[in-house]
Symmetry: C2
Subunit: 767 residues, 2 copies
């Protein structure tokens, strides 16, 4: 693994300034004020300028200046659509700063979305297509006393004008989600979306520092190599040190610098390893590099965090014995994640853009969402290829919190072409992404993008874009695994419903017949809570929900196949027609939770052949009316979040349920399990199984489970019980673990008394 400190330099230096500490470095930062203008033609100079917030998005500046209603309310997002086709000019005026002979002025932007040109005092000095490659321009020679810097943004890229959907993005590296998805309105962010500023740098300056390391086989030693690249470095001196978290220096290196590219080596015995939070401590070391001139003055200080770990994708248990017999095809590719020699079961969620306009994402917002993810017992997030590659603070927080990141490139559900121009931009963007992200210990593996090898995308293993991404990852980050897309063979995506619309198969039967190496997308829709619905749907549309209203704009209807995502029909089949919004929402949210528990727990029962359970999706970029997410916009857990959190506990008692709805007098049955992802052995114990409905609670079985070996599940008995008469339309199964209430589980099921007759749906039961 290679670590680059380039992007850390700035944050650290900002930190020094912001905290009013003594600045040891000679580099200084100039804040910029920005204005925004727009025009319909490329050459037109805007005649009106409005204040602009950077980073942000042109849409947000216009909405603020021109007093647009918020895009998340009712159908106001449609008012913003015209903005995707304009030319935008960001303008910043600044005075020439005092520069000594040994200083230069650099314009830096971490991200400009999407195609743009940069002008200084009317002269074009730069052009780029691509939002993930930082801009770094030396302005020194161009400066006048007063200067105008302009960033001109082109209209959003579109392959064709119709259909106005994600296929418009299939020849660009702009994330496809913005063109509209089944939980995302069509809104195409444009503008400066990441940190952007002027920096005074000494002429002797280090641009890149890669701290590479190689762990030996038994992980007892790290051989560290420092690779430094900069300008005007000769004659200076450097000091590098690695400190553990108590501040003790555990490795160091120093010397005189002879050239602008140099290397240095060090070693660390018995490094504390970085672990995902549920398997150990996500231990981070501090690396500090100082550039010192011949007079002993510190010219530059670069600090970064380093976590030592080894990541691999290894063969899933049992997968080598498939296929059997002849004619024989290949065995499935590996998707068992191994860290530091330990195979772990990955539990997590699909991360989508938390904002429609990623420019306004902050460290604080990332932290709120990631804290909830960690509390949900997630050890991995799949950063889905339809969205952006997150800002640095996302990765820094994942490093600190011990959350693995499966990082996709910005390709999703399109047929990205074998086209030289596209490939060139993809190469530029992917290289920038790899070089930025590879230093993070939380990086689990790279992935080419989403569902590219299915017929709605129609890319194949021969697609040059994917062969190139594989090749770039190998070149720039050889020790991190790469998969071309998700799913690869043996993995599965879906289903996204509690009950299939045509076969009426429930999630319980679907999962029981499935056998996959990893479930890396599966969804359970639920309406948002009533309080959220009231903030997005006008009062007069609220009840009853109807297609063609704000409900549909917020994805309750016609979002995906069938009556997604509100599913009133299914809810009605199980519990009767809803009498109120509150009742509809409560029952819809109940199905989400029970459905998600079923999949997470069944995937865990299929361990070790199965190695991952990652639901679709985690949060959402605006408040939806109904969606598969478990966290409502911006950071509000749905009830389903808590169901998932429970299903992902390291240890729990679990029941494998054959169906959702039961009838009075029918023999209920379920297989009992102790699910165990904990990395140490566990003692024996006792589970009491109860059946309950309103005031009634009946104990139906005690199971004494055996001591549990680390990371190995235990199958128990099948419980059977003839269902008594209950007065409710539902009952609960309680699994209580003696002395360990933290292992307890509970399931709610639908119930039909004998006296209740009629045409209600009875789910198919696969026995």
């Amino acid at each position: 693994m290679k670590l680059t400190m380039k992007s850390i330099i700035i944050c650290m230096a900002f930190f020094l300034i912001n905290n009013a500490l003594e600045a040891k470095d000679l580099n200084r930062y100039l804040e910029m004020k920005w204005e925004l203008g727009y025009a319909t033609a490329r050459e037109t100079i805007p005649d009106k300028w409005i204040p602009s917030t950077v980073p942000g998005a042109v849409q947000l500046d216009i909405a603020k200046a021109e007093k647009y209603a918020p895009y998340y309310y009712a159908e106001h997002w449609k008012d913003y659509l015209w903005m995707e086709d304009n030319y935008y000019s960001y303008r910043s005026t600044f005075k020439k700063p005092e520069l000594s002979l040994n200083e230069k002025l650099i314009f830096i932007s971490k991200g400009i979305d999407y195609q743009f040109e940069i002008y200084i005092n009317g002269e074009k000095i730069f052009a780029q297509e691509g939002m993930f490659t930082a801009v770094n321009l030396d302005l020194t020679e161009k400066l006048k006393e007063s200067n105008i810097l302009v960033v001109k943004i082109f209209p959003a890229p579109k392959l064709h004008s119709k259909p106005a959907d994600r296929t418009q993005a299939s020849h660009s590296v702009k994330p496809a989600v913005s063109y509209g998805w089944d939980w995302h309105p069509r809104l195409l962010p444009l503008g400066i979306w990441d940190d952007t500023y002027l920096e005074i740098q000494p002429t002797s300056f280090v641009n890149d520092i890669h701290v590479n390391y190689q762990l030996n086989n038994d992980l007892s030693k790290a051989d560290i190599s420092l690779e430094v690249n900069g300008s005007d470095l000769k004659g200076n001196h450097y000091q590098w040190s690695l400190k553990d978290k108590t501040g003790v220096v555990v490795a160091k290196s120093e010397g005189n610098i002879e050239s602008n590219d140099f290397k240095s080596a060090a070693a660390l015995d018995n490094p504390n390893l970085w672990w995902p939070h549920d398997n150990g401590e996500p231990y981070l070391y501090n690396s500090e590099f100082q550039l010192i001139d011949s007079f002993g003055k510190i010219l530059q200080t670069n600090t970064t965090k380093i976590g030592f770990r080894r990541v691999k994708l290894v063969m899933n248990s049992g997968a080598w014995s498939e296929p059997e017999g002849f004619p024989k095809t290949r065995s499935v590719p590996p998707i068992q994640f191994e860290i530091n020699g330990r195979k772990i079961f990955c539990k997590g969620s699909n991360w989508v853009n938390p904002e429609i306009f990623p420019g306004i994402m902050t460290r604080e917002r990332y932290k709120q969402l990631l804290t909830l993810a960690k509390e949900a017992n997630f050890n991995i997030l799949r950063v889905w290829g339809g969205g952006i590659v997150n800002k640095e603070s996302f990765f820094e927080l994942c490093d600190e919190m011990g959350i693995l990141v499966w990082q996709e490139f910005p390709l999703a559900c399109n047929n990205y072409p074998d086209d030289n121009q596209y490939l060139q931009i993809l190469k530029q963007e992917a290289s920038s992404i790899i070089n930025r992200v590879k230093k993070h210990p939380s990086l689990a593996f790279w992935c080419g993008g989403n569902e590219l090898f299915n017929n709605w995308s129609s890319m194949t293993d021969q697609s040059l874009a994917l062969r190139m991404l594989n090749s770039l990852c190998l070149e720039l980050d050889p020790s991190t695994p790469f998969i071309p897309t998700s799913p690869i063979m043996g993995m599965a995506h879906g289903h996204y419903v509690f009950r299939e619309w045509s076969t009426k198969e429930e999630v319980f039967q679907e999962m029981a017949r499935s056998k996959f190496t990893a479930y890396t997308e599966f969804g359970m829709p639920a309406p948002s809570s009533v309080e959220i619905l009231k903030t997005i749907i006008p009062k007069e549309e609220l009840w009853p929900p109807k297609p063609g209203t704000s409900w549909e704009s917020h994805h309750a209807y016609n979002a995906w196949v069938g009556n997604t995502w509100l599913c009133e029909d299914i809810i009605e089949d199980y519990f009767g027609k809803s009498d109120s919004l509150e009742q509809l929402v409560a029952n819809g949210q109940l199905l989400q939770g029970e459905g998600y528990k079923c999949i997470f727990e069944e995937a865990r029962r299929q361990k070790p052949y199965c190695a991952m359970a990652i639901n679709w999706c985690y949060s959402e970029p605006w408040p939806t009316a109904a969606n598969n997410s478990i966290v409502s916009y911006p950071n509000i857990p749905k009830p389903g979040y808590y169901a998932v959190k429970n299903a992902c506990r390291p240890v729990l008692a679990s029941a494998k349920l054959p169906k959702f709805k039961w009838t009075e007098g029918e023999t209920f049955y379920a297989d009992l399990w102790m699910l165990n992802d904990f990395h140490k052995d566990m003692p024996a114990g006792k589970v009491t199984i109860k059946i309950a409905s309103e005031a009634t609670t009946i104990t139906i079985l005690d199971w004494d489970y055996m001591p549990m070996s680390a990371n190995i599940n235990q199958a128990g008995p099948t419980v059977r019980y003839k269902l008594p008469a209950f007065k409710s339309d539902r009952f609960r199964i309680l699994l209580e673990v003696e002395g360990h209430p933290e292992y307890n589980s509970e399931y709610t099921l639908a119930y039909q008394p004998r006296t209740l007759k009629g045409k209600r749906f009875t789910p198919i039961m696969n026995q």
Copy 2:
């Protein structure tokens, strides 16, 4: 596609000399005489020198000088085993040639097997591991009046001393087959194995010429670009021309040379395309490049052939609609070969080394084997990764004869490691292979190696060697497809028997239940003909065959799983105990032919989902006693060859048979088909189906088939007939096509009269 002329230069120049034509070039060749010595230790100087034939192998020199019995007779191959562990020195003494100031003396070897050092007059000047990277050394400065050039060869690479099998080759780029296979004795070639000579070159010399081209979408225009690299080129002039096969210049370019690397462009409208022989003409143009000095003297002439074609692997028909439902994994990868926009069904064979010591392979030997392959209606050869990458003449002949080449890298059935040293050598060797072979229009696609994703190899998509090969192919030859191994998902290898040893399933039932995108290995064993057996097995061992004799050494017994490859038990079950060698051989060869016909024809019936049928294997590197090959060593077709040839005809009548053995009175049945791979529409016709045994011939059905669209099969009726009493143990099914005897087919089946009782095996019938 890029074309390099480097390796062609020499052949062409040799041709000029050999034919005593006027040599226009200034480069001249000096023949070398070689002697061989050997020692057990690296530093020991051999005390004895024997004559050596270059190219060749040290084993062949020793065998000749020391009068060894031929390795192919009886078990004499064991006498050669000691030779794999020695150090060998090739020695050549030569006088310094007259060199003008504008000349240099270069030592060139196209291939030295496997690890070696080169010394001139006692001084080490070069070392290399790897047999596929040519050596090119400027000796000029090292020359004395009399010179001794020594090539010192190291012992064959071995990862470990035991087990002495292919796993010894798992950390090297030496072909694994030599370490022993189920049809190849353990014999490890060492030595100079390809053309090797001294060349006087002008100091102004072109080393590499790449003639790249890009075809436009409708193939109506080729944009050609010339990339030239050499030394001391400035001030010279070049002329390049492209001639069609009538000698007419169709494109040209000339100019003064300004630097040692230069480019030039040309264009060709409506190029005649290169096609595989069964789809059109394998049209080749002649490219001629001349380097001319300022006095108008021709310094160098390089000629090569160029074929214009576009190759792709595209999705198999119907494969995008799989898998159905959710949870959903990916669709299978594409293995439908498309050339010049036309999808073709690939029919062919697995090519293994035609000699145990590839150094003695000649253009003439290649030509004999390739002519037979073309006559067998093969349009593709899979050059299996267990063997070598063939010499240039192989590819030149495939170009000329219109035979596609699926070229694998030298990895097979091993777990090649993520090890820096191995990866470095693989990179060097693979780069050399790609740069040499990519110019050939016959190159269909690259493949990482054989069966690497099955448990006997245990490599995965994460293996760095395969990611690197993908990456190198993309970099050096981006327009040629790459697959990591065979089989990839959806493709199949096997079975290799007429009847499975445990399930007793016959090839007829096995193929009927199979559905794969390509069958790229499947075998049918047969004994060699009696005349061949007599040349390898001592008279006293000939009858009856027994394990532990030369029969076993020649793979009749214990070669693979079970009683392979002689299969007396199966032959006995169908036809009773064999009374003579002749009878055993005839019945074994019958089963091979009928089994191969079944697979080739059923794979063709599964078109268009299925896109390839490639049997294991074509020829063999020494005379075997029994084997899956259809051509005995060296170039002798088995009866099975003719069965395969018939099954691969572009158009034929075909019967889908449910089983091999039938009983008197039983109702015989078979599905009738017209198989059609021809690329033009065909008229309607009539097939008459007859059943025959000895003197009896009965017509049982006439089928009027409809006109056939190009490249599309036609399913016909199912024929049914109650089997009469025959006097033979076999009968034949005849399909006769009116007016087109070239479409006729014939199948032989086993027959059991009612009167014959006993414990004979009756095959399972899947109805």
